[in-house]
């Protein structure tokens, strides 16, 4: 029978299946961070349970670590307790930890692939919804709650019901200035923030095939913003090349065997999808969000929408609430929206290619005088690579702050936050109310668009920067 890529990985991981289709699914890779794991380890301790396969788990503090000088430790008391707790738990249960001052420390979804811990065809979970990121390598990767983290630690499995198959084809080729961030924002804007609920989305088509693996990660990362727990992209030669010689990649004979397995990971030609959507790349422009849901997208050349034109009553109510929160008026030009802060980073856009693209546009220019801007590399190794290439100097010379790696202002669990009514062009993934700080106003953009906004001081068109 023909199978989708999702069907193949799912079937390959069933340990046990109940009559109603509820499956016990094997978990090959488990990522752990300081915020959603303490209660899981505590649960194990209370019940006197062990971690079944400590080697299949990798831990890193990322959510609430400071991005400024770390030599004095973490000043926030509660954050320090969480990071210390993670360290103690890893020690007690024998789990590999990249600690705060390890040069490999970084955002959990960036270090997984970087180390070769992430691998095609595996089931990967983490107590974080952006685990979907790893789907870019053809692994079934999704976020779980803390009770499930505990379940995985104790059993190396997870109780799951299979989702439905959804394919999004992005056809044609991307216009100038349009990046994978715009592609995924376009997809979310098209299918809506709950459009993928109950599904796993496979991304396919010429545009996806032509993207680099890092660009593909941006797409899968935000699958959860369309409601789907996991996004998938079939591995190809680029994927295999990416994993060659990574520290935790298979070696020698195992490499050959692994590659042979990875090459079988694709949806069969006549595989059946429960839902399919086609998007033409030529219809995608550089996008920004104007509201408080990632589906609230507009081309940079567009206007803030008028809720009065919305027919659905609930949606209209939500739009009014969003516009009030965001301090925007219907029908104003997007490019007339003045920004205060710029954030480049996060598991969505904190990789070396993102920083290269931004630095290329920024080189020799300055940020607007009334804007403050920061770059937070996704990992210590991304930071090191960027510094070797002189990218840090481009940012610093332009007026950006160059920070230590972590989740930072994407969710503002550390000191990096927006103040009330402060407006930010951000390369992160969520524009929810209060996400980057109480009252803070987030506009989601690509790294290139973040640079354009930094230079102009307003939301601006990356195509006008040269």
């Amino acid at each position: 029978m023909s199978k989708t890529l999702y069907d193949k990985i799912w079937d390959d991981h069933i340990v046990h299946e109940e009559n109603d289709g509820t499956a016990l699914l094997y978990v090959d890779r488990h990522l752990v961070h300081e915020v959603t794991s303490p209660q899981a380890f505590e649960g194990l301790r209370i019940q006197g349970r062990q971690v079944r396969k400590p080697k299949l788990t990798l831990a890193v503090p990322d959510h609430n670590v400071p991005t400024t000088d770390r030599s004095k430790g973490i000043s926030d008391k509660q954050s320090k307790i969480q990071v210390d707790t993670l360290r103690n738990n890893c020690k007690e249960f024998g789990i590999n930890l990249f600690d705060v001052n390890d040069k490999r420390q970084g955002i959990v979804h960036i270090i997984g692939p970087e180390q070769g811990f992430t691998q095609p065809g595996t089931v990967i979970v983490c107590g974080d919804s952006h685990t979907a990121t790893h789907g870019a390598f053809g692994s079934l990767a999704f976020g779980i709650g803390t009770s499930e983290v505990e379940h995985v630690l104790a059993t190396q499995t997870l109780i799951q019901k299979k989702s439905k198959n959804f394919r999004v084809n992005v056809n044609g080729s991307l216009p100038a200035g349009v990046t994978s961030k715009d592609v995924i924002l376009k997809i979310i804007g098209t299918i809506g923030t709950a459009g993928g609920t109950g599904y796993v989305i496979e991304f396919a088509g010429e545009v996806i095939r032509n993207l680099s693996v890092e660009q593909r990660m941006t797409i899968c990362n935000m699958t959860i913003e369309a409601g789907a727990r996991a996004g998938l992209i079939a591995p190809d030669d680029k994927t295999i090349e990416y994993f060659k010689d990574r520290p935790m990649s298979p070696k020698g004979e195992n490499w050959t065997k692994a590659v042979a397995h990875w090459k079988k990971l694709f949806s069969d030609n006549d595989a059946k999808f429960d839902k399919e959507v086609n998007i033409d790349a030529k219809d995608i422009e550089p996008l920004v969000t104007w509201g408080t849901s990632p589906q609230d997208v507009s081309p940079i050349t567009g206007e803030v929408p008028d809720p009065e034109k919305e027919k659905d009553k609930d949606r209209r109510t939500a739009m009014y609430r969003s516009l009030e929160y965001m301090g925007l008026k219907p029908k104003m030009k997007i490019s007339d929206i003045k920004v205060d802060k710029i954030f480049i980073g996060s598991c969505t856009n904190g990789r070396i290619e993102d920083l290269r693209l931004a630095a290329k546009l920024l080189k020799g220019k300055k940020i607007a005088s009334d804007v403050s801007a920061m770059v937070v590399p996704g990992s210590g190794l991304v930071k090191k690579q960027a510094e070797e290439e002189g990218i840090d100097k481009v940012f610093k010379n332009a007026g950006f702050e160059w920070r230590e790696p972590g989740c930072s202002m994407c969710l503002g669990m550390n000191e990096d936050q927006l103040s009330s009514k402060e407006r930010c062009a951000s390369t992160s993934n969520r524009n929810f109310e209060g996400r980057q700080g109480r009252g803070g106003r987030t506009h989601l953009v690509s790294p290139g668009m973040a640079v354009a906004a930094a230079i102009k001081g307003y939301l601006a068109d990356v195509r006008e920067i040269n």
């Binding site: 209660q39 707790t85 919804s129 709650g145 379940h151 059993t155 409601g227 929810f432």
Partner: protein
């Protein structure tokens, strides 16, 4: 985990769609290493002003809704992050049942690990139940019968049988899965041969 069998309460209605997990429990409260104590911070930014004072127009700040065990909400409830702090905060506040026309997947799953029943019914039925919220009249949820009883009416809802059983019996998933250790070992042995690089 506490069993869920029947529940009677005046429902509190928050008529907003896409209530995300950042709204349910903002990030500053995720720095705890405990599961309890989050109830006072539930819906923090809607409930308290910037000086920390209760906002009296917010439904949960008013009696009898401050004691509601049932929450009625707009579609796509619980979207956003995987933080289990969201169901923990609801539970700690006293809410054991959330009724919406749709839920985000991760949040939906997290509820069942905490003895919270998420019920999916259509928008029209939610409107009907919201009248009971307005009139401060109780409604009753009967999980075994898969029924919501209100006034002299009732409506039924769907739920997966395994999830229903877990709530009714308050089962510990990990304990159940640990009984499958022989299956897990068999799977691992076979995987060591076919995929030795894992």
């Amino acid at each position: 985990m506490e069993k869920f069998i029947k529940l009677k309460s005046i429902p509190a209605h928050i008529p907003l769609m896409n209530i995300d997990t950042d709204m349910i429990i903002p990030k500053q409260f995720l720095k705890t290493i405990k599961r309890t104590g989050l109830g006072k911070s539930l819906f923090y930014e809607m409930r308290y002003d910037e000086s920390g004072k209760l906002i009296d127009t917010f439904i949960l700040n008013n009696d009898p809704y401050s004691k509601s065990k049932i929450l009625l909400a707009g579609k796509n409830f619980g979207c956003g992050s995987s933080r289990e702090h969201a169901p923990w905060a609801l539970l700690d506040f006293g809410i054991r049942c959330v009724i919406s026309s749709s839920f985000a997947d991760i949040f939906y799953n997290n509820c069942f690990n905490n003895g919270i029943l998420p019920i999916i019914i259509d928008e029209k039925s939610i409107q009907e139940l919201s009248e009971y919220s307005k009139r401060k009249e109780e409604i009753e949820v009967d999980l075994n019968e898969q029924m919501i009883l209100y006034g002299n009416k009732k409506l039924t809802f769907d739920i997966e049988s395994a999830k229903k059983k877990r709530l009714l019996e308050g089962l510990d998933n990990i304990g159940l899965s640990l009984k499958k250790i022989p299956n897990i070992e068999k799977f691992e042995n076979s995987m060591n041969k076919t995929k030795p690089w894992i």
